[in-house]
Symmetry: C2
C-alpha cells in the first residue's frame, strides 16, 4: 500500500528560540505523529524539498531529520527515491492502574522513625565535606564490602556502643537490612544451609525472601527470656534469625543463658546465628544489652540499619560477618549490584565519625521515650486490658487482646475511624497464635498517640456494644 | 574449674574526662580481656567491692558493669554470690587476606568515565536543594519504582534526547545496570522465559548473572549492521540483549532494517528485546541513533545508567519497561532492597531537570572526543595494523590483532611495561573468536593515551623480536 501524505499533516511546531536544533525538533515531531498513529504505515512522506519549503527550513535540515528517522526505523527510504513511514506497529502503553486508597489519618503502622527529625543540616555538612574532599577515585572504584571509611567508622561505633567485635575487614555495607539479609540467605543456601528458624512471632518480610532463595522456614517460640533454644534444637534448623536485644514484636530480651545456649547451639555444628539488631539504639530505661556478635564473632552474623535511626530512604545497612562469609558475601554483593552508592556511605561515615550520629540519637531518645510513655499511660487509662508486654523499647509496643476481641474486627473498626492499628496475625509463623496489636509510634506526635488510643477505645467499645 | 583472679589483671584504664560513662569503660575493658583470652573461662572475678576500691570507683559502677556483662553472656553470676568468666570460647577473627597487586600505571581497562570531572559543585547545589526542600515524607516512603521526581525528569530527558517513549509510570530506578538487568532477568524467568541471546562478542558480566537466575545463554554473531537477526531466530531465544546504538565491543550500530527485524522478531511471539543504551550520550561524529524502545515500547525494555556519564559510584540506573512488566518488576525491586536510596535520586532529578546533565555532557563530549582522536591517531602512527573497527563513539575503541600476535602474549608483554591492555577473549560467548584489543580511554588524559600506545608498540615489537 502506498498512501500519499500532503505536507499539511507534517506542520511541526518549530521553536526557533529554545536552543534545540531544528532538525531535532522536526524529528521529534514526526516521531510523535508516527507513534500516535497520525502518520500510518506506508504513508509516503513529502519530499525533503517540499517539506523544507513549507516549514521555511533549509533542505539540509529535513534531509538530516529523515536520515535520522530512517536510521531509527521510523521511516523507510525506498528505491524510487521517496520515503515511507515504516510499519512499526507501535503500541502506545496505557496508563498504569491507580494507587490504592490512602493511609489512615493516624497510623500505628510499625517500622517508621520520625523522619521529620532527620538531621538535614548536619547531613548536608557531611555531604559537603564529602564532595569537597573525597579523592575522585572513590567515585569510580567500588569495593563490594563498601567504602573503607564507612566500614571503619561503623566498626568503631558498634564496638563502642554495641559491644561487637567488628573490624573494617569483616563488615559489609548493603542497601538496608532487606538486601543484606537476602544476600546472606543466598550465600548460606549456596554453602549448603537448608533450614532457617525464625522467632514465632516475628517480622514476616524475611520469610518470603527465605522461601524465594530456597530455604525451608520454621518457627520457634519466643519465651520471655528470648527464643526457645530447646525448640530450636529440635527444629533441625542450621541457621536462626534472632532479634536478641529486643524481640520483634514481643519485646522479649534474650537472657544471658539464652545467648550462651544460642552460641553453643551454633558451635556444635557448622551453624549460624543471624542477629538482627534492628532497634538497639532506642532503649530508654536502661542500657541495651550488648550484641551477641561480640560474644561469638565466628558464629554470629550481625545486621544493623539506619532505617530506624535516620531514614528508611537512605537504604543504608551493614553486616558484621564471620570471616568465612566475607569473601562469598563480597562476591554476592558485587554480582547483585556492584556495591552500594558511595556518596551516602561517605556522608554517613563522616556523620558517625564526628559524633553526629550519637548526637542525633541523644536528641531522639527522649522524644521517642515520651511517645512511648504517652502511649503506655493512655492505654492504661483507656484500655487497661491491653497492658503492653515485654520491654518497652525501640519504636513499638505490643499488647495481647482480651479473649472477647477479634483482631481483624478491631483493625476494621479502628479503620472506620481513620485509625490504623495492626494485629499479630502476619507475624505468627505456624498457624495462628494469640490475638494482639503492635503499636508503632515512631512517626506520630503525642497528641496523635493520645487521640489514636482514644479512637481505639471507642472502636473497642462499639464492637462490644454491637455484640451485646 | 575455678581459677581465682586478683584484681591486678583488671586494671582497666579509665579516662575520667572523655565523656564515656565509667561503667561503660569498665565493661569494655573486661569484655576486651575476656575476648583476648586474658581472662580465661571459669576465672572468678574480684568482688565488686574489691574492684571498686582498686579502681577508685563507687561500688555501684562496678555492679552495673558486672550486671551488663552477665546479661551479655561474658560473665556468669554464681549461686555462691561470686561472678565467673563464662565459657564463651571466643574465636578472634583473623585478618583478611591482603588485596591483589595494584593496577598498571596506564590502564586501558574499559568502562571508566573520567570521574575527576564529576560536577561536584553542581551536584552539591542539587543535594542542597534536596535537603532544603524535600518534604520529609519522601525520606520515609519508598516507591519500588523510584521517586516520581526522578522518573519524571528522566522520562522527559530520554524522550527528548534518545527518542524513547517513556512515561514516569513505566520507569523503574535501580542501582545501576547491574541490579536492573538482574531483576529483569529474574522476572522474565518467573514469567516463563528460558533462553537469553546475547551479542557475540559482548560484555561478559551479564552472562554469569543470567545463568545464576536460571536462563540458558546463547551467543548470536554481531555483523557490521548489528546483531544477526536470522541467527537470533534460529537460536530459539525468547529474549535478546542488544547494544543497538553502539555495540560493545565491536562498535557496530544497528541499522534500520536490523532494528525493524528485531521488533518483528519480538512481536511474533511473546518475546522481548532488552536495549542496553550504555553509552549513547557519547557520539562524536554525528547524532546518535534514537533508541529502539521508542519504536516498540511494548516489545523493548530499555536500560540506561549514570555510571558512564557521571560516576559508577552513584549506582544510578533506570529502566523503561513494557507495561506488563511494571508491576512484577516493582514487586521484585521491593523484595530485593525496598527501593533505591532517595537522596541521590532526588539530586539527580534536580540535576537533570535544571539542564545540568546536558551541560555536563556538553562539557565532556569534546574531552572524550579529543582522547579518542588522540588514540586513533597514535595507533595509526605506531601500530597501523591495529586499525579500529566500528563506529568510534562512547568510551572505547576496538581493534583486531594481526594474525601473528597472540592476545594474551600482548597483554602480558604490555603488563611488564606497566600498561594494562585487554583482549577480546572474555567477550566471546561461544568458544574463541578473532584476537583483538579493547581500549577504554575514559579515565586517561592525552599524554597517557599517547604513552600507552607507545608502550604497546614497544611491547609488540619486543614480542616479534623474541620470536624471530
Amino acid at each position: 500500500m502506498r498512501t500519499s501524505s500532503g505536507t499539511g499533516e507534517l506542520l511541526v511546531e518549530l521553536h526557533r528560540e529554545n536552543g534545540v536544533p531544528l532538525h531535532q525538533q522536526l524529528e521529534s515531531g514526526i516521531r510523535t505523529r508516527i507513534r500516535a498513529g497520525l502518520l500510518r504505515p506506508d504513508t509516503v512522506m513529502p519530499s525533503t524539498r517540499a517539506l523544507a519549503q513549507d516549514l521555511g527550513l533549509s533542505r539540509g535540515v529535513v534531509v538530516e531529520a529523515y536520515q535520522q528517522l530512517v536510521a531509527e526505523g521510523y521511516l523507510v527510504s525506498q528505491a524510487g527515491g521517496y520515503t515511507q513511514v515504516a510499519d512499526v506497529s507501535v503500541v502506545e502503553p496505557t496508563a498504569a492502574p491507580a494507587a490504592a486508597s490512602g493511609p489512615p489519618r493516624i497510623d500505628f503502622r510499625y517500622s517508621r522513625p520520625d523522619v521529620s527529625q532527620f538531621p538535614r543540616v548536619a547531613w548536608l555538612r557531611s555531604i559537603r565535606r564529602v564532595l569537597n574532599e573525597t579523592p575522585y577515585r572513590s567515585l569510580a572504584y567500588i569495593d563490594g564490602r563498601g567504602t573503607i571509611e564507612l566500614r571503619t567508622a561503623l566498626a568503631d561505633y558498634l564496638n563502642r556502643v554495641r559491644g561487637t567485635a567488628a573490624r573494617p575487614e569483616n563488615m559489609l555495607i548493603c542497601n538496608g537490612f532487606a538486601q543484606g539479609s537476602r544476600l546472606l540467605l543466598q550465600v548460606l543456601v549456596a554453602s549448603g544451609y537448608r533450614r532457617l528458624a525464625v522467632e514465632d512471632p516475628s517480622d514476616n518480610d524475611l520469610r518470603e525472601v527465605a522461601a524465594a532463595v530456597g530455604l525451608e522456614v520454621v518457627g520457634v517460640p519466643v519465651l520471655e527470656s528470648g527464643v526457645d533454644v530447646d525448640a530450636l534444637e529440635r527444629s533441625g534448623a542450621d541457621v536462626v534469625l534472632v532479634t536478641a536485644a529486643h524481640q520483634f514484636p514481643t519485646g522479649a530480651v534474650a537472657s544471658a543463658s539464652v545467648r550462651a545456649a544460642l552460641v553453643t547451639w551454633a558451635g556444635r555444628a557448622d551453624r549460624l546465628v543471624i542477629e538482627d539488631d534492628y532497634d538497639a539504639e532506642y532503649r530508654y530505661d536502661r542500657e541495651p544489652v550488648g550484641a551477641m556478635q561480640g560474644l561469638a564473632p565466628d558464629r554470629v552474623a550481625y545486621a544493623g540499619t539506619a532505617s530506624k535511626t535516620l531514614a528508611p530512604g537512605l537504604r543504608l545497612g551493614w553486616l558484621i560477618l564471620p570471616d568465612r562469609l566475607v569473601e562469598p558475601m563480597t562476591r554476592a554483593k558485587l554480582m547483585d549490584d556492584r556495591g552500594s552508592p558511595v556518596f551516602d556511605q561517605l556522608a554517613f561515615a563522616d556523620f558517625v565519625a564526628r559524633g553526629e550520629f550519637d548526637r542525633h540519637l541523644r536528641r531522639m531518645r527522649p522524644r521517642y521515650r515520651e511517645l512511648r510513655d504517652t502511649l503506655v499511660e493512655r492505654l492504661a487509662v483507656r484500655l487497661p486490658e491491653l497492658e503492653p508486654v515485654g520491654v518497652s523499647a525501640g519504636l513499638h509496643v505490643m499488647s495481647y487482646l482480651p479473649a472477647d476481641l477479634d483482631e481483624s474486627a478491631v483493625e476494621a473498626a479502628a479503620r472506620e475511624r481513620g485509625l490504623g492499628v495492626y494485629g499479630l496475625a502476619p507475624y505468627w509463623v505456624s498457624g495462628a497464635g494469640p490475638a494482639g496489636l503492635v503499636f508503632g509510634y515512631g512517626s506520630l506526635n503525642r497528641s496523635e498517640v493520645v487521640e489514636g488510643i482514644d479512637l481505639l477505645a471507642a472502636a473497642v467499645a462499639e464492637l462490644r456494644r454491637r455484640r451485646s
